[in-house]
């Protein structure tokens, strides 16, 4: 899907305009990403970038992935 925003936080806002109700599933009352939601910009975890303030430009690919999948041990 396509969305337009300057930052990840803005992207969540734009998704909410397109799909009302999605925002509260992604972020909590304080606006923080929920514990089990991971966001990647061009395959990089935004916690290694600038969190929800991570800047976006046209053509960036953003993945929203549940934190659940795990591995060894």
């Amino acid at each position: 899907m396509q969305a337009t925003a300057d930052t990840v936080a803005g992207l969540v806002g734009d998704l909410e305009r397109q799909f009302p109700g999605i925002k509260e599933r992604l972020v909590d009352e304080a606006g923080e990403l929920r514990r089990f939601v991971n966001v990647y910009v061009n395959e990089e975890d935004i916690r290694f970038l600038d969190g929800q303030k991570t800047a976006l430009k046209a053509g960036d690919q953003v993945s929203i992935v549940p934190a659940i999948a795990g591995g060894r041990t």
Partner: protein, 439 residues
């Protein structure tokens, strides 16, 4: 009897049916299998378990699989080894090794989770299984898929140890090497699982798959004579085994199968180069800060552990702690375990032994207490880690004279210095031995 009620979100509690659902659709939280414990009290007893198969399936009422299992029937019930020499080296009264390095069929505890996941995949009608892995899971899934006659797709980090790659390829899955870390593999797995009709064992079957780890905990308690130890030290990657051993103890408590109070304290062990869970526990925060792993303990190099939050809660609930080990400490501890107890663990086992030593030194594990050290995979899987630390003492021509001379030289070289019989010492490696000439 069907003992499974369904699934429920660990975070918000929303209930789901017994089906391959990846996460809670409301809050993305992980899902847990719900059992009819009330119907199991008094029905699952020490006697019924003892009369069961000599495998993890003796606990089948507490595993989320219906009917007879067609594959993985011999998985589990690995030795719990009394380890007096290691105990002495570590400075504790009572140490035990739970050794899944000899788990059938692929020499790691992953056989437990895979046995459950593949059985569940068949039960749910899948013909294809898949996983993202740091190696041990890949090998186990490929083996069980071969046994089950199912197709297997496996994603691995491209820089994995050659032995681990081979350990999966031998069973002929479709193996995709991914240029990236395990965390990259994991994210990709989640995205693939959404678009393919596969049983992705550590994604959409994860609620069932992880339940297999409980059998490791059930066995510890049963093998100790239905007693829970004072301490259990567990290597953590995603953190699931750690949380499930604790869950196993609580379930046995619920079923009134444990003698006395189960006061076990659960301790997490990670490599210093990838210790996000240890960091959370030691700094007492429930917020995970992911890391980029740099450690020889690749099987547990998960920088963004799925069960970090639950691992933190397990430490809090059990009064447990955590420790980390550097690469050098990992290798030293692998050698210590091998030379005190004759058990060759993979690098993750070195992490656990090294962490146990630190927990004793810190006084977290008191010297008069009992500890179970969890070994989750065989040392033959990670021989690369020891290449620089072991070598033949001497090379000779095939003559008796050369042998006698070499042995004499070796004895002179070791004169005055305790050759490392580490039962008497707390240190694993007394330094490189020099080879004598063969004349």
């Amino acid at each position: 009897m069907n003992t499974v009620i369904g699934l429920a979100c660990r975070e918000c509690g929303r209930a789901y049916p017994d089906a391959p659902i990846q996460v809670c659709e409301r809050c993305f939280g992980p899902l847990d299998v719900q059992y009819r414990y009330d119907a199991l009290v008094g029905r699952v007893t020490r006697d019924t378990i003892a009369a069961g198969p000599r495998s993890m399936w003796r606990y089948r009422e507490l595993l989320p699989v219906q009917g007879e299992t067609a594959v993985g029937r011999h998985v589990g019930l690995t030795p719990l080894v009394w380890a007096p020499h290691l105990a002495k080296a570590l400075g504790v009264r009572e140490a035990w090794i739970k050794n899944d390095g000899v788990c059938h069929p692929t020499w790691s505890f992953k056989d437990r989770v895979v046995a459950v996941a593949v059985a569940k995949a068949r039960e749910l009608g899948f013909d294809t299984v898949a996983c993202g892995s740091t190696g041990n899971l890949a090998s186990s899934l490929a083996a069980h898929a071969a046994e089950a006659g199912m197709a297997a797709y496996i994603l691995l980090p491209a820089d994995l140890e050659p032995g681990k790659l081979l350990g999966a390829l031998v069973y002929r899955p479709v193996l995709v090497a991914v240029e990236g870390t395990y965390d990259d593999v994991n994210r990709l797995s989640s995205e693939i699982a959404d678009s393919r009709p596969w049983a992705f064992v550590n994604v959409n079957l994860r609620p069932y798959y992880t339940e297999g780890s409980k059998s490791y905990g059930f066995e510890i308690v049963e093998q100790l004579g239905w007693r829970a130890p004072d301490h259990i030290v567990v290597p953590c990657a995603a953190g699931s085994l750690y949380t499930k051993i604790w869950k196993a103890i609580k379930e046995l408590e619920t079923l009134r199968l444990i003698d006395g109070p189960a006061g076990t304290r659960m301790h997490a062990a990670q490599a210093a180069g990838c210790a996000p869970i240890v960091t959370m526990i030691k700094s007492d925060t429930d917020v995970l800060v992911p890391v980029r792993p740099t450690t020889i303990a690749k099987s547990i190099a998960v920088g963004n552990p799925a069960d970090a939050y639950d691992a933190y809660r397990t430490a809090k609930a059990s009064g447990g702690s955590a420790e980390q080990a550097t690469d050098e400490e990992i290798v030293d501890a692998m050698l210590l375990l091998a030379r005190t107890e004759g058990i060759f663990a993979e690098t993750a086992g070195g992490v656990t032994v090294a962490a146990t030593r630190k927990l004793v030194e810190r006084g977290v594990i008191r010297r008069d207490e009992s500890v179970v050290v969890c070994i989750t995979g065989s040392g033959l899987k990670t021989t690369d880690a020891l290449q620089d630390r072991v070598a033949p003492d001497v090379t000779i021509r095939p003559s008796l004279a050369a042998f006698d001379r070499a042995l004499n030289d070796l004895q002179e070289a070791s004169h005055g210095r305790a050759r490392s019989y580490p039962h008497a010492t707390a240190h694993a490696d007394q330094g490189q031995r020099r080879g004598a000439g063969d004349g």
